[in-house]
């Protein structure tokens, strides 16, 4: 039996982010939400391990109470159940807070052998929660994994880490935590049956009252500004004349050797 937790975050869809050039503000209020891209790989990897070795998969998230739609989305991707650790105040948590809440939620009632996280979230991309969670839980941590295998006989995992200087093949006894890279798998697209079935799967609702306070943020956000880029944005037609004009304009701007 392999009991796996796949952690995921419900994030703003960055394709929906608009920039107000005048105020240099990001316009987020009309943006949709989705499961952070790399966390879909985390869920998929947990489900792939289950298909091979049996056991269970629990999808866990820390989210504001308005994010309930994330459960159906996550569960349609294969996990047996979900754990929704939520509070209205969980909107803009610092990494240290997410970690302490996640650790408290897991300790309070989710049994696990393996925790899988994405390499980083699509919104803030601090890449801290995975390794910091392992540290808090006191379990081995293997980051930036693009190949993962589990050996039932000795209950160990072997992982290939993709690092700047090459591949590092490592092994650890369970329980352990891994953070994975998006090239480890291709997340399946849920079928209609899976989407409908997701609503019937159990989801544990964990609130702040049962966990205690979220802890010190340590890191305070002073502000977020839009990254603006001044570009000419001149378009040329795709016909012979347009292409000639584009080449002329480019050669005027850039010296080509």
């Amino acid at each position: 039996m392999l009991k796996t937790i796949a952690c995921f975050k419900w994030v703003i869809d960055d394709a929906d982010i608009r920039i107000d050039a005048g105020t240099r503000k990001l316009v987020l209020d009309r943006a949709g939400y989705k499961i952070s891209a790399y966390d879909r790989n985390a869920i998929e990897e947990a489900v792939l391990l289950q298909e091979k070795h049996g056991g269970t998969v629990c999808a866990v998230t820390v989210a504001p109470s308005s994010a309930k739609a994330c459960l159906k989305d996550a569960l349609s991707r294969g996990p047996d159940n979900a754990c929704y650790i939520n509070d209205p105040s969980f909107a803009d948590l610092a990494p240290a807070q997410t970690v302490s809440i996640l650790a408290a939620g897991i300790k309070a009632g989710i049994e696990f052998d393996l925790i899988i996280c994405g390499e980083g979230s699509g919104d803030l991309y601090t890449q801290q929660v995975g390794p910091a969670l392992a540290e808090t839980l006191g379990i081995p941590c293997i980051t930036y994994v693009n190949k993962l295998t589990y050996s039932e006989s000795d209950r160990r995992i072997t992982a290939e880490r993709k690092l700047e200087d090459g591949i590092e093949v490592v092994s650890a006894a369970l329980p352990a935590l891994v953070t994975i890279l998006p090239d480890i798998n291709t997340p399946r697209i849920p079928t209609l049956k899976q989407v409908l079935g997701a609503a019937k799967k159990p989801a544990l609702n964990v609130t702040l009252d049962s966990l205690g306070p979220a802890g010190d943020p340590c890191l305070k956000t002073v502000g977020i500004q839009a990254a603006v880029m001044d570009r000419k944005k001149i378009r040329f037609a795709a016909d012979a004349e347009g292409i000639r004009a584009a080449v002329g304009a480019l050669l005027k701007e850039v010296a080509i050797a």
């Binding site: 990001l26 305070k220 977020i224 880029m229 040329f236 480019l250």
Partner: protein, 318 residues
């Protein structure tokens, strides 16, 4: 005790953090400490501005670098530095996150720059969020203030003659729960896109691996290197991973960037933001790359690129 402490995997990266750290230490009126892997780098680091070198013991063959986290944490608890900068490589980011968690302090991931506030003695640290669409400013209200810093963010500290510093050795690293079974060094490609003057970048609009020749032909005319977006390297593996551009790949600043069938996801645009001129060819007129481009042609790249090659050839010959 106080001070600015730095740690990075490579000597080059360590020298960059020493450069940033030295300047900050002088402004804060404090000292600069550095962690070194093995004693051999001590002299160089002192010449580059360090006042104190903490030498990590040599790790066992099967120990990952992250095994040193407990020893780093003990050293920090004993020395109580004000600020810690760690090189934002994969291992460095992991070490920093675990260390910050142990020390119960805040960490600014991939800090791209900072301003020191004399008033509250805190760093206003900047970093990119939402794939590069936003810049977040953070302060770390707990001690030590921590940040990871990517390679080439700061200029390396020059060596100076006549500097002196203290060297101390850290205790043996306890055995970690993760064992290294094998290390396969990366096959480095011949191309370093970060140094290219001009880049032709291939995106998902290119339909087959063979069609990359079209981009290569254009690159040859322009004296450019061929790069690509993340999926072309990672999912399709049509080009090596060291030529994909983006927030998690290479960040480039060529004189000219030509996007061929690149849609312009923000994560990609972040990697090409510093290009002087951006030119895009894409069949989708709503592709976000056109918002990030100086010049654009909306059209089928299979029609446009061959004509473009002919036009460049003709214009450059004249």
């Amino acid at each position: 005790m106080a001070g600015i402490w730095v740690f990075a995997e490579s000597r080059e990266h360590t020298r960059e953090l020493l450069g940033a750290g030295r300047e900050l230490a002088d402004r804060m009126g404090t000292t600069l400490g550095v962690f070194a892997q093995g004693a051999s780098a001590s002299k160089e680091y002192i010449a580059c501005g360090a006042d104190e070198v903490f030498v990590l013991p040599v790790l066992g063959e099967d120990e990952p670098l992250e095994a040193c986290v407990p020893v780093l944490a003990d050293a920090v608890s004993a020395g109580d530095p004000d600020v810690i900068f760690i090189g934002a490589t994969a291992r460095g980011k992991t070490i920093a996150a675990r260390l910050a968690s142990r020390l119960k302090t805040g960490l600014c991931s991939c800090c791209s720059g900072f301003v020191y506030d004399e008033g509250d003695k805190l760093l206003r640290m900047e970093r990119m969020v939402y794939g590069g669409a936003g810049i977040q400013t953070v302060v770390c209200e707990t001690r030590p203030q921590m940040a990871t810093i990517a390679p080439r963010t700061f200029a390396p500290a020059p060596e100076q003659e006549g500097r002196s510093g203290k060297v101390s050795e850290l205790p043996v690293v306890p055995e970690s729960g993760v064992k290294v079974l094998d290390r396969l060094p990366r096959q480095r490609g011949a191309v370093d896109v970060t140094r290219a003057k001009a880049i032709v970048c291939v995106g998902r609009g290119v339909e087959k691996a063979e069609d990359i020749t079209l981009a290569r032909d254009l690159a040859d005319v322009l004296g450019a290197e061929v790069a690509c977006s993340r999926p072309i390297a990672e999912e399709l593996q049509w080009l090596p991973e060291d030529v994909y551009l983006g927030i998690s790949g290479k960040r480039v600043k060529p004189e000219l960037y030509v996007g061929v069938g690149v849609s312009g996801q923000i994560q990609h645009v972040t990697g090409i933001r510093d290009s002087r001129v951006i030119f895009a060819i894409n069949r989708d007129e709503n592709a976000p790359i056109f918002e990030a481009a100086d010049f654009g042609i909306v059209g089928d790249l299979y029609q446009v690129v061959p004509k473009l090659i002919d036009e460049f050839k003709a214009a450059l010959k004249a």
